[in-house]
């Protein structure tokens, strides 16, 4: 019997006689049938149609025993019976392979063959385009199928006898598997060639007609990005930039004929442009104002080399080369001030001096991605793990390689935008680490907030076209500039025509930057972040212009004032107080004036309270410093018997170790806090005043300060003061008024007592000098009973508020406790402290007094 599909029926012909014996048809067949297959046993006939339905007849009974519809109604182009089981494999014109386990069992489209195939490409984690993969993998199996069938002539398939299908089936299965495997392998290879193109962590969907096999559905690992040099274009290009930074440009021309390197400096005064032949095939380069660093990977014969051209050298020899150990390849290099570093495939970072001496080596926790150097800082970015779903998993190590070597960032995770990778890493011209990711976000280290990273610019915002990118070449903080090259339709610029550098400005991603408030807040915080380098540089012993330091402060305070005014207008007085917290003392005064002028007296009062608190905190902080300083100096100087000059010298010497000795002391001392300068001034003035010779004021001041000021055990006093403050909220101002009063009081009790009893002391110890007289006087005064002391103090005050005396009483016992310790140091210390304290206190006192009077 011969079965031929004709339109919507299958005609069976007797082979010998060519009679149309019987027609098999079925109501479910709506479209022409195109494929017919006999079962191996010869009992059944399966036919597939153009719209995807498959019908199986039992030939003898001519009844349709099974029908199946393809889910997607693709037309069936091949059918094959399983030689042993009741299964039909079918392929459709979309390249899907399906298995129909049936005939009796009902449709269970279980794609066993396909699942084998899918297992193969499950191993290929890097998500490719599904359809592509499917098409590739599945089509070949289908084609042998169709091929086998179509050998017999297309639609008019002379369907084979039972023998033939079996063979066909076997062949096809084998073929399908084989080709599947081959395809799987080739896809695997293709994937490995892929670079840092964007990965679609896509999940390869399986052919619809098939499988209910469980397959891996979770996050897929992203391939790790390869190591690169910042500011370079890909290595495979014939003409490429090896590095483009703020110092200059290095290009590499690598065609078949020759390989050359072209070095050009932005500022030709550093060095003239040079042209070098690149016989060793260097692929990595870095450029600084002192040297050029080149590196190549190892080849079969030669080891990986690091080559440095140190043109700032004053001797005749201006270059050196170093070979890496066998099987170790350099992967990234960078230059700093007087040193060079290279990271190798052995997970090592090797440091060299710029003259060629090998220095330290340290291990990296993972393969390096990029390195950057600036001054004494080295930043290394490496893979600390494997990222998933398109993310990279990078870590950053920031080290300082100066006199004191330390690690600032210990392999902290580097935050990149989702599904992006690192594109540039480097330092700003002032030494703040920054990096850029492939989504165009530039992030900078915010030293002011504990070394966290803050995004400072989104270059994509400035891009006009969708595929335009900005290729970063440099970052400057003062003035705020992001130097980059706009690239149309590419991530990096071509070598020719020579690209022009554009400058972008920074904006921090603060909320509501369209409103005035948002704008000012953004400006304020941007100013703060971009001037962190001032603190950093001065801490590390760099000289800084006064202007550079004061100008940002001025800017910031202006912005705060504007915000303050805005909040006032908006009746947000609570916010005003919060803003005032950020201001400096002068600006707070301005704010208070503004508030009182706009008749917001509640606000003015709160602000003044806050200012007072701040001032006293400041004063205590200053005094703490001073005291500590003095204590030390006095300890070292021995007893303060001698006059100030030795003290002064000693203490000024003492100051120095606190300050890095690397540079000009003048500027450093100028920069360090006002206290020290004022202190210095005081110290200078003190010999004029001859501090140890008692002057009424100074004496009284010293005594007063003695009573109120802390002793070396400063915490007690501070606690005392704070306690008082906490206790007496309203009298807070009174307390300060009291301080005020005490300082301004012409004489303290002790002072008066001393005057009266000085004669006595002198008669007792005629050869005491003034300092000793005072010492003696103090000890004697202490011996007096507390009542007597009170008498004297009352005398001095001339009957002031009792609170004050109470306070004094409270303080005196505490003072008395402390008196027990180190008396002599007290005294001389006091005198000096009082000297220093006085001018400061005067200043704050004036302010405080104005507040106090406001209160009353």
């Amino acid at each position: 019997l011969l079965a031929i599909p004709v339109d919507k029926v299958v005609k069976l012909y007797r082979r010998e006689t060519w009679d149309n014996q019987v027609d098999l048809s079925d109501t479910s067949i709506t479209q022409p049938l195109n494929v017919v297959v006999w079962s191996p046993c010869g009992q059944y006939l399966a036919a597939g149609s153009v719209n995807g339905s498959i019908v199986v007849w039992k030939v003898e009974t001519q009844e349709c025993i099974e029908r199946m519809k393809h889910e997607k109604s693709y037309s069936i182009c091949g059918l094959a019976w399983h030689p042993r089981y009741e299964q039909i494999a079918y392929t459709d014109t979309e390249g899907n392979l399906g298995l129909w386990e049936d005939i009796g069992d009902g449709k269970k489209p279980n794609d066993k063959v396909a699942s084998a195939v899918t297992k193969d490409y499950e191993d290929l984690f890097d998500g490719d385009d599904d359809d592509y993969l499917n098409g590739d993998m599945i089509e070949p199996p289908s084609s042998p199928n169709t091929g086998a069938n179509e050998d017999h002539g297309g639609d008019d398939d002379l369907m084979p006898t039972s023998g033939h299908p079996r063979r066909a089936v076997i062949d096809d299965d084998d073929n399908s598997l084989d080709i599947g495997m081959i395809k799987a392998n080739s896809n695997l290879l293709e994937k490995e060639e892929e670079d840092d193109d964007d990965q679609i962590g896509g999940f390869p969907a399986l052919p619809t007609s098939s499988t209910q096999q469980p397959f891996y559905d979770g996050p897929r690992p992203t391939p790790r990005q390869k190591p690169f040099q910042s500011g370079s274009t890909p290595v495979h290009l014939m003409h490429r930039f090896m590095v483009w930074n703020s110092v200059g440009i290095i290009r590499c021309y690598n065609d078949e004929q020759d390989n050359a390197i072209d070095i050009e400096f932005h500022d030709t005064s550093i060095h003239h442009a040079t042209h070098l032949p690149n016989s060793l095939n260097h692929t990595m380069a870095d450029l600084s104002t002192e040297a050029i660093l080149l590196a190549c990977e190892s080849t079969e014969e030669l080891a990986s080399k690091l080559h440095c051209i140190y043109f700032s050298s004053w001797d005749a020899n201006k270059e050196w080369t170093v070979d890496m150990p066998k099987d170790e390849d350099i992967e990234a290099i960078c230059l700093g001030q007087g040193w060079a570093a290279c990271a190798t495939s052995a997970l090592l970072v090797r440091l060299f001096t710029v003259g060629g001496v090998q220095k330290e080596i340290f291990c990296l926790p993972g393969p390096v991605v990029a390195m950057a150097g600036h001054g004494e800082q080295l930043m290394v970015i490496y893979h600390r793990g494997t990222g998933f779903d398109g993310d990279q998993c990078l870590g950053v190590q920031l080290m300082e390689l100066g006199k004191k070597k330390k690690q600032i960032l210990h392999g902290d995770p580097l935050s990149l935008t989702k599904k992006s990778y690192l594109v540039w890493v480097g330092f700003s011209a002032e030494g703040t680490p920054c990096y850029v990711d492939s989504e165009g976000i530039v992030r900078m280290l915010n030293r002011g907030l504990g070394n966290t990273w803050i995004p400072v610019c989104n270059t994509r915002e400035h891009c006009k076209g969708k595929s335009d990118h900005y290729w970063v070449v440099g970052i400057h903080e003062n003035p705020q500039q992001l130097r980059c090259i706009p690239c149309k339709g590419a991530r990096f610029p071509p070598t020719l025509p020579r690209p022009a550098v554009a400058i972008l400005s920074f904006t921090l991603p603060y909320c509501q930057v369209t409103t005035e408030k948002g704008q000012m807040e953004e400006q304020y915080w941007r100013s703060v972040v971009f001037h962190n380098y001032v603190d950093y540089l001065s801490k590390n012993g760099y000289e800084l212009d006064e202007n550079v330091k004061s100008q940002p402060v001025k800017e910031q305070q202006e912005l705060l004032m504007k915000l303050f005014a805005l909040s006032c207008k908006l009746e947000r007085e609570f916010r005003c107080v919060e803003l005032a917290d950020l201001m400096t003392q002068n600006v707070v005064n301005l704010a208070i004036k503004y508030a009182s002028r706009s008749r917001r007296l509640n606000l003015a009062q709160r602000l003044s309270e806050m200012a007072v608190e701040k001032a006293s905190e400041l004063a205590t902080a200053l005094e703490d410093e001073e005291e500590e300083e003095d204590f030390r100096t006095h300890l070292n100087a021995g007893l303060g018997k001698t006059g100030t000059p030795p003290d002064k010298e000693v203490s000024s010497n003492k100051k120095d170790p606190l300050v890095p000795s690397a540079n000009v002391l003048d500027t450093m001392s100028k920069y360090s806090k006002k206290t020290s300068s004022s202190r210095a001034a005081n110290k200078q003035s003190s010999p004029v005043i001859k501090p140890l010779i008692p002057k009424p004021k100074s004496k009284q001041a010293s005594a007063a300060s003695f009573f109120q000021v802390r002793t070396p055990g400063s915490s007690e006093k501070r606690v005392g003061e704070r306690e008082e403050k906490a206790r007496n909220e309203p009298p807070e101002v009174q307390v300060t008024a009291q301080d005020n009063a005490e300082n301004k009081r012409p004489k303290t009790g002790f002072q008066m007592w001393l005057e009266e009893n000085r004669a006595n002391i002198l008669t007792d110890n005629p050869d005491l000098n003034e300092a000793e007289v005072i010492k003696e006087g103090m000890s004697r005064f202490r011996i007096l009973s507390s009542e007597e002391r009170m008498v004297w103090t009352e005398k001095a005050k001339g009957g002031a508020v009792t609170d004050l005396t109470e306070d004094k009483k409270r303080k005196r016992p505490t003072a008395a406790e402390d008196e027990g310790k180190k008396n002599e140091e007290h005294k001389s210390e006091d005198s000096n402290v009082s000297k220093k304290k006085k001018p400061l206190d005067q200043a704050t006192n004036v302010r405080l007094s104005s507040f106090a009077f406001k209160q009353s």
């Binding site: 200059g248 030709t268 020579r498 022009a500 550098v501 554009a502 400058i503």
Partner: protein
């Protein structure tokens, strides 16, 4: 005014005379203006040809700038020759329009004419000639009319 800051490798805006001077001393590279680009100039030229009146030009000094830049800094300008041709074409079209308009003005003896979007260079090219010619014509005209005070001998 003040110029700068001059950072090596970064573009900075300077007056044209300074740019040309520095370029002649080989101390700088000139970056062509945005409109000096083949596509843009083609558009401008086509538009000029289409319209009967004058179309706005990318810069009131396009002719001068083109001349200077192409003379001194053609190496910094991509496709300099094409740009030269394009600008020349535009110039020719405009001059032709000007001549036509002057011709019709004289023929129809109009008193007023308004010409938009003319650059100074174009104005000066025919300005002197036109005004002097008109002056002469005026004198000739007045001499045609018999006038009482014919003593005045002016020509």
């Amino acid at each position: 005014g003040d110029l700068g800051p001059f950072n090596p490798g970064l573009p900075v805006e300077v007056p044209v005379w300074l740019a040309i001077n520095l370029k002649q001393r080989q101390k700088c590279r000139l970056i062509p203006p945005e409109w000096m680009d083949v596509e843009k100039l083609e558009e401008i030229r086509d538009q000029e040809r289409k319209e009967d009146t004058f179309t706005p030009m990318p810069s009131p000094y396009y002719m001068e700038l083109t001349k200077l830049l192409l003379n001194y800094a053609s190496d910094n300008i991509p496709k300099a020759d094409e740009i030269r041709t394009l600008v020349k074409d535009t110039w020719d079209t405009r001059m032709a329009k000007l001549r036509l308009s002057a011709d019709s003005f004289v023929r129809q003896q109009e008193a007023h004419a308004k010409l938009d979007n003319l650059t100074l260079m174009e104005i000066n090219t025919i300005g002197t000639f036109l005004t002097q010619a008109l002056d002469h014509m005026y004198k000739l005209r007045t001499n045609l009319q018999p006038s009482g005070s014919a003593e005045s001998q002016d020509f």
